[in-house]
Amino acid sequence: MTDAAPREWVPVEHRFLGLDRRTFAPALSVLVIALLLLYGLPALNAAIPWHNEIRAGDVLDLGDGATAVPPVGWQLEGGTLAGTGSVSPSSVQVQLASGGATITLRGTSFTGTADAFLDQVQRSEGSPPGVDGSRGTVTTASGLVGVAQGSTSPNGDALDVAFKMAGASGEAEAAPALLVRVRTAPGQFERLQDTVATFLRGIAPGASR
């Protein structure tokens, strides 16, 4: 009769680099599946190109009748086109991309002016390195007034525009807020200035507000 093996004792025929080979099956199965999910899916995603090109006549649904006209030819990577679903104005998320430039729209609830909303956005994100421009006013074709601020940094050019999506009869303070963010590579903003200006002019609040 032999004594019971001490804890952690691995018989020599089961050892590999000091590890117990009998534990390899569950451990390696987990590692393979985890790595497939972790790196396989992002690799597959990177291999699939975008095919959601904005066509002439497409209109973005910003909730409760509010709309925007996206630039033709850009890729719609997130968001809902009018007539294809329902959107809440306080949770709108739109992402448009073209050649390294992006336009994102984010709706949220906020009590206060567009200027205060932009302050809140900047407070929440701290002060990134770069040079901020002064704030200016943006007026859309429908009469919606927003507050815009541009900045430039080694990472690229940026423009943030804050709106309160209140119609003519609505309460501006309580209306949902919309943040439009434009990001481009360094020195590329000028090339897109007209496209961005046209896009901003096309933002319209819901008729009911």
Binding site: E8, V10, G18, L19, D20, T23, F24, A25, P26, A27, L28, S29, V30, L31, I33, A34, L37, L38, L41, P42, L44, N45, I48, P49, W50, H51, N52, L76, E77, G78, G79, T80, L81, T84, G85, S86, S91, R106, T108, S109, F110, T111, F117, Q120, V121, R123, S124, G126, L179
Partner: protein, 385 residues
Amino acid sequence: MTTTSEVKTAQLAAIEQSGWGQPFRLVQPRNLAFWVYLLGVGGGALAVLRYFGPGAHFYSPALTGGVLLFGLYLVPWLLLLRHQNRYTAQPAALLATAFVWGGLAAPFWIALPANNALLEIWTKVGGTAFAANWSAGLTAPINEEFGKALGLVLLIGLAPRLVRGAYDGFIIGAFIGLGFQVFEDVLYVYNGAAQTFGADQITSSFQMFLIRGAAGIVSHALFSAIFCAGLMWVLGRTPGERNVPRGVLTMLTAMVFHFAWDDMGGLSGGNALLAVVLPFVIAIVELVTLFYVARHASRQERIWVRQLLQPESDAGVIDPALLAAVSGLGKDRKAFRKLVHSRSRARHLLDAAADLARELARAQGSETSEVAHARAELLRLRGGR
């Protein structure tokens, strides 16, 4: 007729097969599963720091509120799951190991990057309208259910003798799911506050607590309990328990529930009435399925407990009604409560019988002072009727 030696042999076989009484140690440097576990939990912890770190100061009211509220929310859940950890109960250290995998590795190491990728793939393949309705339900049930279940597979590697039956999968899955749920809830609180750029963080965290807390009753803990019980049926680590079709069907059921919960908007198709009714219907179906799976998963465990205590029953330490209750289902325990005419006395007797079973398992069926004490306690309680 069954002889005493046959009963004793069956008792020893039950102890051997169930692995009950075996100690659990997480730190096993010679076990590769230990290193993979460390990699997953370490990767998850790093991802947490990267995710919450930059905004932690500004969003501290929301984060503090979320951690406190969901920390309190955890208490009744732990009490409930502790109560369900019956029959050949799993040690607390093993369940804590499962919880940590569910809280850190599954959501932050695996699900966060995998979900982002798959959500974008669905958007590219089906367009943004399709993605808005269906992408969440076609993503999370795959990445999250498998991500959580990987913790169970690692625990099989770390404690092969302890993790044997489908009920082990059920309980361990519930703890992994609970960890996932609570950590994900805190993530949602943070995201909710970030959605409003930090305006009125306390209100937003409280709103998120109410929404996620209510939905959490039939969420990750339930999905994973069902999924992991199914996985154990597929793996069949107990003689006679392997049933691949049942296991796969059970795993798919958990994934369908997860899909239905995540794509409630798409399933209701814009119908306001359906959108209100559907969550309740799905919750009822989920709970009925949960009890059905628990009942079937516990079958082998109940047989083990019966075999373990049969010698004590033959010796007159446990009467047949108590044996039936301690190795039975809810209806057996209810019948026992009616028999003894006292809820507290029935509970004490059941706990004492479970103590004796546990001490017998720890002693590997031999006589020790602990076994003698547990038996004396049970006899004391029985004499006090």
